[in-house]
C-alpha cells in the first residue's frame, strides 16, 4: 500500500529538519506510539498500537534510519514490526522530504510504502488503508501544530 501526505508548515526547513530528526518529536506526533527507545545511532525499538473497531493491534519492532541527507532535506526510514498475538506484521519504508517555500515556510512531504503481512493483512486491508491515511494526516497536523504553523 502506498500513501502520500503533504502539508505546509510555518517554519523554515532547518527548524523542521531539526524537529523531525529527534525521534522523541516524531513519536509524540504519531498517534499510537507507545514507546520508542534508541538502540544505536540509527536504530530505534518501539511499540505501536492501532485499533480497528474491536480489533486491537500492538506492533513491536524496529525503525532504522537508512537515509539522512541534510543537504536535500531527505530522510528514509525502514520499519519492521510484528504483532505476535495475531501472527501478523508490517514492513514499511517511510520517506520524508522537505521543500523550502520561504524562510518561514516549508512543505512537508511524507511517503509511506507499507506491506501488512499475515492475518491482519487479510482482514480489512482496505480498512487498514483508511486508518493509515488518517494516521499520516494526524502526524502532519501534529507536526504543523507543534512548529506553530497552519496547515497548507
Amino acid at each position: 500500500m502506498k500513501f502520500e501526505q503533504t502539508c505546509t508548515i510555518a517554519a523554515g526547513p532547518l527548524k523542521v529538519w531539526n524537529f523531525l530528526i529527534d525521534m522523541e518529536n516524531v513519536s509524540r506526533c504519531l498517534p499510537g506510539v507507545e514507546s520508542m527507545t534508541l538502540v544505536d545511532e540509527d536504530t530505534y525499538e518501539g511499540i505501536f498500537k492501532i485499533r480497528v473497531g474491536p480489533i486491537a493491534l500492538k506492533f513491536k519492532g524496529t525503525l532504522r534510519v537508512e537515509e539522512r541527507d541534510r543537504d536535500n532535506w531527505h530522510v528514509g526510514m525502514r520499519v519492521e514490526a510484528k504483532d505476535r498475538r495475531l501472527g501478523g506484521g508490517v514492513r514499511a519504508y517511510l520517506e520524508v522530504d522537505l521543500v523550502e517555500k520561504g524562510s518561514d515556510e516549508t512543505q512537508l512531504n511524507v511517503k509511506l510504502e507499507s506491506h501488512v503481512l499475515g492475518k491482519i493483512g487479510e482482514f480489512g486491508q482496505p480498512v487498514m488503508r483508511k486508518k493509515t491515511d488518517a494516521l499520516l494526516q494526524e502526524f502532519a497536523r501534529q507536526v504543523s501544530q507543534e512548529l506553530g504553523g497552519d496547515q497548507g
Binding site: 480489533i55 495475531l86 501472527g87 482496505p126 480498512v127 483508511k130
Partner: protein, 292 residues
Amino acid sequence: MRAFEYREPDNLEEVLSLLHDHGEDAKIIAGGTALVIMLNQRLIMPSYLISLRKLAGLNSVDSADGALQLGALVTHREMETSPVIRDQIPVLAETFRQVATLRIRNMATVGGTLAHADPSQDSPVTLMALDARVGLSSSGGSREVPLDEFFTDYYETVLQPDELLTHVQVPLPKPHTGSIYLKFLPKTEDDYATVGVAASVEIEPSSQLCRECRIVLGGVAPTPLRVKEAEALLSGQKLAPELLHKAASVVQEHTDPISDSRGAADYKREMAGVCVRRALEQAWQRALTESP
C-alpha cells in the same frame, strides 16, 4: 480460537452486571455469525463470552404508538418472514431478505448486526432511512440513540463496553411514503453490497411534490452514509430526471469509498450515483402508487 469463560444469563440484569464487571474483557455473542469468524481468526480474544441465547424478552416484534419495536435478538429470518413487518414496513422485510444466505439469516440478529457496524451491511442502511432509534442499556441506566448518531467508524459505534443494545424502534412510515432498498451486487448474491442505497420519499398527494425524503448509502464510507444535502435538494420538488441527477452528484461528493475486492473506489463512487437515481425513482413511484 483462544479459550474463554462462557456465560448464558437468562435475565438482562445479569447480562448487564457481567458487562459492568468485565467490560472490555468480555464480548456479547448473539447469533455469532460475525463474531465466531473473528474468534476463529484470533482477531479478538475476549476472556469472557456472554451469550444471549437464553435471554428472554428481546426477541419479539411489537407494534405500539405508531412505531415497531424490534427486540435486539429478532433474527434476520424472522424479520424477513414476519407478517407484521411485511404488512407495516415491507421495505424492512425486503432488506433483511437480501442479507447473505438463509443459514446466516437463521442465526444473525437485528441487534448483533448493528453492534458489528460493518458499513457494507444492509439493514443499518434501511433502518437509518426509516429514522430508527436504538435502545442501549447498562447497569447504570438506559439511553436511546438515533441510528444516524450510532455509528462512528468501521466496526465502531457509540456503544460503551458495559452497554447492551436491547431494541430498535422504527416509526411507521407516514402515508404517501415510498421506500426502497437497492443492493448493488455485481459479484455473487450472497455477498455484501458493493453499494447499497435506501431511499424513502414522502409526497404531498395532490401536488405530487416531495415533502421529505431520506437517502442513506452502505459500502461507500466508514459508516452508513446519510446525505442530508441531497435530501434537501428534493424537498418541495417534483420528480424529474435532472433533479435526480443533481441529487446523485451531491451524494457522490460525500462518498468516501475504499478500493477492495468488491470494487475500486472510483467504481463505487460512480455506482453510488447510479444507484441513488434508481432508488429515488423507485421510491417515488412507490409513493405515487400508494396514493389512493
